[in-house]
Each structure stands twice: as C-alpha cells, then as structure tokens.
C-alpha cells in the first residue's frame, strides 16, 4: 500500500454496497433435462454472450487468422462435447441450441480456465 493513488487505507465504508450492484438469482432445476435447464437464463442473455465471445474472437484475430482459428475451434472443440461427463455435455448442447452460439464456442467458453492458466 505504498503506491497511492492506486492503493488506499483499509476501507470501512464500502458496506452496504449500492442496491443496484446486487446480482439476481436464477433457479436451476436439476430435475429438468440437462438440455433444458439453462434455457431460461441464457436465451435472454444470448446477445451479451455473443458480444463477449466476439471480443475474444477479435482478440484472437490480432495474433492469428481469425477465420482459421474459429474454424479450428468449431472443428476441434465441438466434437469434444461428446467426451464430457453428463450432465455437462447435455447442458452445453442446450446452451448452444438456446443461444444460437456454435457449440465449439460454447465449449471454448467453458474450458477457458484451462486455456487461460498457461
């Protein structure tokens, strides 16, 4: 904490946070089929998800040919879905169907942690 203005003394006034920063809740019904259980959440958020994934594509495009990279994602990662345990493979397919986002890109989003740790 020696480098102001980027650091500050320990705060005592941040709580309670503004009400409009509180995140809402979605009920995931595990009794539903895996393909259907996320639809109510991702369908209305599809546009935001697409914008986020497009940002990643744009970033990839800076370093390598974007079209080739995306084709690779679709060709390589979409079939990977079959190797995931249930209910995860069903859920990923359901998200791709509900949002219209290619399955390979949904898989990439879901294994991004493993990709990013390098």
């Amino acid at each position: 904490q020696e480098f102001p203005p980027f650091t500050e003394d320990c705060r005592t006034d941040a709580y309670p946070p503004p009400v409009n920063t509180k995140v809402g809740t979605y009920v995931l019904n595990l009794d539903q089929a895996p393909e259907d259980r996320w639809t109510g959440l991702v369908k209305p958020m599809a546009d935001k998800m697409k914008i986020m994934i497009q940002d990643i594509k744009d970033l990839v495009g800076i370093f390598v040919n974007e079209t080739k990279a995306i084709n690779l994602v679709d060709e390589l990662l979409a079939p990977l879905t079959d190797t995931f345990p249930e209910p995860y493979q069903g859920e990923l397919r359901g998200i791709a169907n509900a949002t219209g986002i290619p399955l390979g890109e949904v898989v990439l989003y879901n294994i991004f942690y493993e990709v990013f740790t390098v």
Binding site: Q1, F3, P5, F6, T7, E8, D9, C10, R11, T12, D13, A14, Y15, P16, P17, T21, K22, V23, G24, T25, Y26, V27, L28, N29, L30, D31, W38, L41, V42, M45, K48, M49, I51, M52, D55, I56, D58, L59, L76, L80, T83, F84, P85, Y88, E91, L92, I95, T99, I101, V106, Y109, N110, I111, F112, Y113, E114, V115, F116, T117, V118
Partner: protein, 254 residues
C-alpha cells in the same frame, strides 16, 4: 482473485471472494478498462441448484458457463477457486484430453460436483486434495464448524503441493489467498496479499462478518480493474450474496 475464509470469536465462518478476470484480454484505451472484464460483468448471476423443490447448492456463474468457481452448500461448506499460473498448466491438459488421455477432470465441473454432492467438510477436503485435475489452481474451502477452512494448492494431476488449514487455536483465524503460492512472497508488481492481510488484521477477529470482509475486499488494490464481483458466503445461514464491483480510476490495472 482474492479469497478469504475467516472465523469470528463464536466459531462462525465467513467465506468471501473477489473474482478478477480479463488480464491482457483487450484494453479499452478510451475508458481505461479491461475489455473482457467489462463484457463479463453483465453476465454474472447467482444460481440456486434445486432438486425435488429443495435448494441443494448455490453458485455464482457467468451466464453460459456451467462450472462452479464460487459456490456453497448451505449448512455444509463453501468454496472458491483462484487461478494458479503454471507453464505446465491447463493447456497441456487440454491437448492430452483431445488426444484421448482423459484421466484428468475439468476444474469447473469438479468443483460443481464437489459442492452439489458435498456431505461434509473433511470428505470434500480429501476429495479436492487428490482428484485428478487438468489444470492447477488454488481451492479455498470453508466449512460450518470452528477450524474448518483450508487453502488447497493444486497442481495438474493428483498432486496437492500444499494444504494450509485454518487454526484459530493458534491465532490463524483467517486465510487469505490471491494468485500465488501462500508459502512464498508474491511478486512485487502484484501484491494483493499484503494489503488484504493488513486490512484483516486492522478489522480484527472481533469484527469478522460480512460487512468487515466486504470492506477488506473493496479496498484497492485488492479491488482492482479486473475485479468483476465480490461474493459473500455464510454457510451457517445459507446465504450467498454477490455484488458487481467497479474500480473507478485511479485504480491499479490488476
């Protein structure tokens, strides 16, 4: 990321975390923000896992991401995962998976299984210490009884490099984990551990609670330009509250 588990003087446990993500994934020059961080924030949602009409677990998700990196089982345990950077990290795990060597498991799926199926702190600790993983990570676990808190430092495969336990009887009433091995010094250019530690000590065990911990996690540079949300978990009450976090300039980029 910064995760905290703290025990108050009555033995009650609180678990909280900042999720920081998007480093080097696009810089918005005009707004001086990380592009991906800004894109992720509107996707954050609390998810209540229900089975037979009953809540069996809770998690914080990005819409479309089905794994768990922050979650709790009310009355049983809470967990969070912080990223651990290693050259032999998840990338090799992915390649192995693609070529058919599929002994390891995906972090988000493992943690979701762990939290949804959890029966108690100790068995979950044991499981997460030895489960075969495709990527390294720091798994922070909190329970429901005094002393139930741990930082599991995981490598790829079945190896746990270190398990640090809460030990209130000997003065360790809280645990702090950022993105570096907790038995080594963090790098000078990214030390969020020292400010978090200082603020926890300033707060003191007498003031442990959601308010105090939120204040610690909201202090710069613990809160920084990568911080998307702060989640506050109280296992005994079964509450998981998540708040979007912003860091107005001047703010450290990570």
């Amino acid at each position: 990321c910064t995760s905290l588990v703290a025990q108050d003087k009555t033995g009650d446990l609180f678990h909280a975390r900042n999720l920081d993500f998007g480093l080097f994934l696009g810089w918005d020059v005009k707004n001086q923000t990380w592009a991906l961080t800004e894109r992720l924030r509107p996707l954050i949602i609390n998810v209540e896992y229900q089975q037979g009409g009953k809540t069996v677990a809770k998690g914080v998700h990005f819409a479309g991401y089905i794994g768990v990196i922050t979650g709790m089982k009310p009355g049983v345990l809470s967990l969070s995962m912080n990223e651990r950077f290693q050259l032999e990290g998840g990338f090799i795990g992915i390649i192995e998976w693609i070529i058919g060597q599929r002994d390891g498991q995906w972090m988000g799926f493992v943690l979701r299984d762990a939290v949804v199926k959890a029966t108690d702190f100790n068995s979950t600790l044991q499981y997460l210490t030895s489960v075969d993983l495709l990527a390294p990570g720091y798994i922070i676990l909190g329970g429901n009884s005094s002393g139930e808190g741990a930082i599991i430092t995981r490598s790829v495969g079945t190896k746990a490099d270190n398990v640090k336990m809460l030990d209130p009887a000997h003065g360790t009433w809280y645990l702090v984990e950022t993105n570096y091995d907790n038995w080594k010094n963090p790098p000078f250019f990214d030390d969020r551990r020292a400010p978090a530690t200082k603020c926890m000590n300033t707060m003191s065990q007498a003031n442990v609670g959601l308010k105090g911990i939120f204040n610690v996690l909201s202090t710069k540079p613990v809160r920084n330009l990568l911080t998307t949300y702060t989640a506050l978990m109280h296992v005994r009450n079964g509450t998981l509250d998540t708040y979007l976090q912003y860091c107005p300039q001047p703010c450290f980029p990570w």
